[in-house]
Amino acid sequence: MAEPFIREYRLSPLGDRALVIELGNDASEETALKVRSVTERLLAEPLPGVLDVVPAVCTLALHYDPLRIAAADDAGGAYAALARQVTARLQSMDGIELTQPATFEIPVCYGGEYGEDLETLAHTHGLTVEQVIERHTAPLYRVQMLGFAPGFAYLAGLDPKLATPRRSNPRMRVPAGSVAIGGELTGIYPLELPGGWHLIGRSPLRMFDAFAQPPARLSMGDRVRFVPVSMGEYVRLAETHK
């Protein structure tokens, strides 16, 4: 696939050790594609001194070590020097290949003790539990970004009928593997965490493993489809993915 040429961007500091590249102001797939291309380019050919490249919905951030930024003394300090290098990089970008996003099928056991909020959520939207499951398993979701927790992927593409504002009182403990809806997004809690999303099911797959390479199962741009499984199947899969 041909690389979209980066025409419009804005650079700004995030404190004195990070730089943000803004490539749009929306959550569209087109903007996400730009974010992914720049991220991949900056990971393939790293700029000296950059410690982390963190893509998000329409921005990416470069965390850097000011002492290791080349030519930082010449004019204006580390940020100015890095901004010049980033500008040159962005202007030189054309026609690079993007990694083909992977597609994952994620088994989910819906409802019951694994999805405490499923019935309430169905009731709120005037749907049956079966209809919610149908609508949740239908789309091919897109990983919008990773954040919030290790391996947590924000999945875009939720059926608008299922969009639900976050809970006003977040839970202190959401079990690992919980599949949940928050606003117009859905996602899978990789660890036991506090959280304000509505729990509709649970997946037996491990979404994060510190000793795997890469440690997160999903990457930005990947596609995800949820597949309903029975409680028995969930237990069997949970055993094999321990």
Binding site: L14, G15, T39, D52, G147, P150, M220
Partner: protein, 333 residues
């Protein structure tokens, strides 16, 4: 050589300068809260500055050395004693085998760092020895220390401070030099803390009144502040037009303002991204001071430019470089 935990303290974890290179997978950087004290402690015992130290908080641990140990304590004042005798901070200390270091209740500051020459022998997970409790990874079995734990210490590569070793032969429990390095404890003695910040990416979205209040009002650090973030009590800040921002990366010192209008300064265990407007970022040089302020302390924010902050950062690094050179010489004596 190992370190036996006789009492664990409130929150004692192994930390280094953090876990970089994995934020794009949602993995927080973590690491020490007060990086300056951590680095000084390591330098004093001849370690690399990113070697893990033991970070302890508010009430410290009680630890026994199974062999002679070269140690240093930097950061908050925990009234450290060995064998009942006070151990001065911010200098190398040579402790006898079998002696017991007691880090009591914090008298000044909020947390401190114990470095041992050679460093702690724990696995490097995702490029770091830092303990990240929410995922139970890194550090000592992914958790805070408990009574009965025994931590292995790696052999120190060089025989440092020979004069201290000679002096220990005729001394009880421990010996240390009369000199110390300049630590940040002096800064903590003030009542009113000034934290310098740069305008954040969403500064202009805040109402004029809120922007003025942010730099004029006093904020109090709330009780539910932790390694992840400092919650501040003070005036309620609001946007000119209520709205949301799309989630994006945050950093150590990002000051985010949730819809309730109460700012949160993101600290070492912050998430990689956030979805609240950022009114500013704390200057890197002031993060060690902020990390030492306990809940209940008050602070004011003072605006500076990025260029000023960068200059302060370079100046701090130059001072550290001089200290590194100076200590290398002293360690030969």
């Amino acid at each position: 050589m190992s370190l036996k935990v006789l009492r664990a303290g409130i929150l004692s974890t192994l930390q280094d300068r953090g876990r970089y290179g994995y934020q794009r997978y949602g993995m927080p950087v973590g690491g020490v809260m007060d990086e300056h004290s951590h680095r000084l402690a390591n330098l004093l015992v001849g370690n690399a500055e990113d070697e893990a130290t033991l970070e302890f908080t508010l009430a410290g641990p009680r630890l026994e050395f199974t062999q002679t140990a070269l140690i240093a304590i930097c950061g908050g004042d925990f009234a450290a004693t060995i064998g009942g005798r006070e151990v001065p901070a911010a200098r190398p200390v040579l402790a006898r085998a079998g002696s017991v270091l007691d880090l009591a209740v914090c008298r000044l500051g909020c947390r401190a760092y114990l470095a041992l020459a050679g460093g702690f022998d724990v696995p490097v997970v995702m490029g770091s020895k830092s303990t990240y409790l929410p995922a139970s990874l890194g550090g000592f079995h992914g958790r805070a220390l408990r009574r009965g734990d025994e931590l292995t210490v790696q052999p120190a590569p060089a025989h440092l401070y020979p004069a201290l070793h000679r002096a220990l032969q005729t001394a009880e429990d421990f010996v240390c030099p009369k000199w110390s390095v300049h630590a940040n404890a002096a800064l903590l003695a003030h009542d009113h803390h000034r934290i310098r910040f740069m305008q954040g990416r969403h500064f202009a979205l805040f109402s004029e009144a809120s922007r003025t209040q942010f730099i004029s009002a006093e904020f109090r650090i709330a009780a539910n502040s932790d390694r992840m973030g400092y919650r501040l009590e003070g005036p309620t800040l609001s946007l000119t037009e209520p709205g949301e921002v799309l989630p994006e990366a945050v950093t150590f010192g990002s000051i985010q303002v949730p819809p309730d209008g109460k700012p949160i300064v993101l600290m070492a265990n912050r998430q990689t991204t956030g979805g609240y407007p950022l009114i500013g970022e704390v200057a890197s040089v002031d993060l060690p001071l902020l990390a030492q302020l306990p809940p209940g302390d008050t602070l004011r924010f003072e605006p500076i430019t990025l260029e000023q902050s960068e200059q302060l950062y370079l100046q701090r690094e130059r001072e550290l470089a001089l200290m590194r050179e100076g200590l290398r010489e002293r360690a030969k004596q």
